[in-house]
Amino acid sequence: MTGQSASYAIRAEKLSRRFGDTLAVQDLDLEVETGRIYGFLGPNGCGKTTTIRMLTGLLQPSNGRVEVLGCNLPEDAEKLRLQIGYMTQKFSLYDDLTIEENLKFIAHIYGLTARARKQRIEELLSIYGLQEKSKQFAGSMSGGQRQRLSLAAATLHKPKLLFLDEPTSAVDPENRREFWEQLFDLSDQGTSILVSTHYMDEAERCHKLAILENGIKRADGSPDELMQQMGSRVVEISSSELRSLKQTLIALPEIISAAQLGARLRVLVKDSVDDPIGFLSQQPSVKPEDQLNLVRPSLEDVFVTCTGVRADSGRQQS
């Protein structure tokens, strides 16, 4: 590719992957800038993990071309391994080894010298607050500790590019916030990060993100851009009979979705309607005493507009 590629950690063109008859990823174009945090937002089964596996050289693309850190995949997959870190969705370190032994194994296999190994492991234990637990078996740790250990292992060899596949799915909100602080620290030190998630609040923290659905990229850009360029506007209605109001509004072709939030109904109206407040007030189901307000869109609204489904549908948590 061109010399310009130096500023991109990842560039993919028309990336596709087929499993039997199903297309898990379809014609995905991707550009991830060096030193940034890039997010994949999408529901389960939308192709996030498959894409990450193709970008790390673990899966061969059925079609398309990938360049990661200047390496063409899949030919240069082995060369790439030393420069990337990958934190898998499921915990993939050894349950029957202690935290310290797990890190020692990783340090050993990446060829660190005995002295460097010791120093780096101590450093990581202190960064991720695992010093006191270092003799504890990985299998007996909490979700948050496992996640910190996984991140420590994935960053042990100081990779230039870090892949994180739903890193916070088994972690409570407080640990999640801490985890993101650590990601920003890594990003600040120049590490490029690609993270997949189905949490809106996490996606909002990314510098840039792509919204995936059924293996297709529906939109990409920074969270602000996405919210500004969204093809709809958001109206919140306060009313006494929200359930029946929702049913009648959702049947209208101009309405993308209507979701109840406590005592309010959040309605997405297509951009083709010039005056959303006026349009809604004329609806017979909206009573004169109901309050209508135009509000700032959220990332969730972007997601719903792009895909027609909520990101966390089908998920029990969140």
């Binding site: 790390t56 061969q60 993939s92 050894y94 060829g111």
Partner: protein, 381 residues
């Protein structure tokens, strides 16, 4: 980067995991110990004290002496007396007795004229004199038992009549080398070393790769820079020492408990054993790259283990098998090691004189490592 570093990383990790697995760790010592004690004492192809019955139609003092003389050989023990033949056949069918001796009413006339008693030598053509003394009815389904009773056919009967021996000069003289007392255990102990090693070595590594996959560690392992061949060698190394420990236990106990000495050179024994251990471990690795689960790898281990026990010459002589079975046996590492270890331990053979067996084990290891490494893909598709 140094490939030895990555091999040692894998080997260190394997040892740590093995140390954590107390059950497996215990089995390393217990399998050879228990199996050796069990089979060392239990397996015996010299048949003794078979339970047999008798149908005595003569009811004479002579028939009772005949029975005592037969019992004195220790081959059989008379446990039942039957009054008629159908009753006796029933007892054979229900495995109450293995054989029945039928003593005819004219046993004394037959005995007097029998040539083995040695009262003169009547002409052989005389039908009257060439009649046997009595008849054995044998459960012929078990060939070893049938053979033991058949061995009684030419039993001398001189003591019966208190006459001096009239030994015939044998056609052949037989000199038994290496195991003159014909103790079964002498052959069993080195053979058992081969069987136990086959079992434990294949079992250890057959689970090695598939376990990483089942426990979800594979995705992490293949993103590291480790190469397939480094992973394979790292997985094998710790078990070589374990195999060596097991051989020492088996041959050591064989010497202490069963007095089976190691006649050959220990160095040559160690070399042959090392080759066999690595060959068995690579066989396990190949299984591990084929199996999709630990259960499957266990089934495939048994699939290899049974022919290794039955065709390798451990139980039955290799030469007695049909050609096709011999080819299968030749492919198994256990067959070659069976020859090597029996050769070195019992006969003090230089292994250089058994070069084909050594070559096969070496080639098997190298070929197996190559196959396992090629089969192992650092990809998920």
């Amino acid at each position: 980067m140094n490939p030895f570093v990555r091999v040692s990383a894998i080997a260190t990790k394997e040892l740590l995991q093995l140390k954590r697995d107390k059950m497996t760790f215990g089995m390393i010592v217990m399998i050879p110990l228990i199996q050796l004690l069990l089979f060392g004492f239990a397996i015996n192809t010299n048949v003794r004290h078979l339970p047999v019955g008798v149908v005595d139609y003569s009811h004479s003092g002579l028939s009772r002496v005949l029975i005592q003389t037969i019992e004195a050989t220790q081959v059989v023990t008379f446990t039942r007396h039957f009054t008629n033949l159908p009753e006796a056949e029933q007892a054979i069918a229900s495995a109450e007795v293995r054989a029945v001796l039928i003593i005819p009413s004219d046993v004394s006339q037959r005995l007097v004229r029998n040539p083995s008693v040695g009262l003169g030598s009547p002409p052989a053509s005389d039908a009257e004199t060439s009649r046997p003394v009595a008849q054995w009815l044998v459960d012929g389904s078990d060939t070893i038992i049938a053979g033991a009773i058949k061995g009684l056919r030419r039993m001398p009967l001189v003591e019966l009549l208190d006459k001096p021996a009239n030994r015939q000069t044998p056609t052949f003289e037989v000199t038994l080398l290496y195991n003159p007392e014909q103790r079964t255990v002498v052959n069993i102990v080195p053979g058992l070393a081969a069987v136990i090693l086959t079992m434990t070595m294949i079992m250890f590594t057959s689970a090695a790769i598939v376990r990483e996959r089942e426990r979800g560690n594979m995705e992490m392992l293949i993103t590291t820079p480790v190469r397939p061949i480094e992973l394979m060698i790292g997985k094998i190394l710790p078990y070589i020492f374990i195999g060596a420990i097991q051989v020492v236990i088996i041959l050591g106990l064989g010497f202490l408990l069963f007095n089976v000495p190691v006649n050959g050179s220990l160095l040559q024994l160690a070399l042959a054993t090392l080759l066999f251990i690595t060959a068995s471990l690579t066989l396990g690795l190949i299984i591990s790259t084929i199996a999709k689960s630990q259960l499957q790898s266990m089934q495939m281990t048994i699939f290899v283990l049974l022919p290794s026990i039955l065709l390798s010459g451990f139980m039955f002589p290799y030469e007695g098998m049909p050609l096709a079975a011999q080819y299968i046996a030749e492919a198994l590492p256990a067959t070659h090691f069976m020859r090597l270890i029996r050769g070195v331990v019992l006969k003090d053979v230089e292994i250089i004189n058994m070069a084909p067996d050594i070559y096969w084990l070496g080639l098997f290891t190298l070929g197996g490592l190559a196959v396992a490494s090629i089969r192992f893909k650092k990809r998920l598709d």
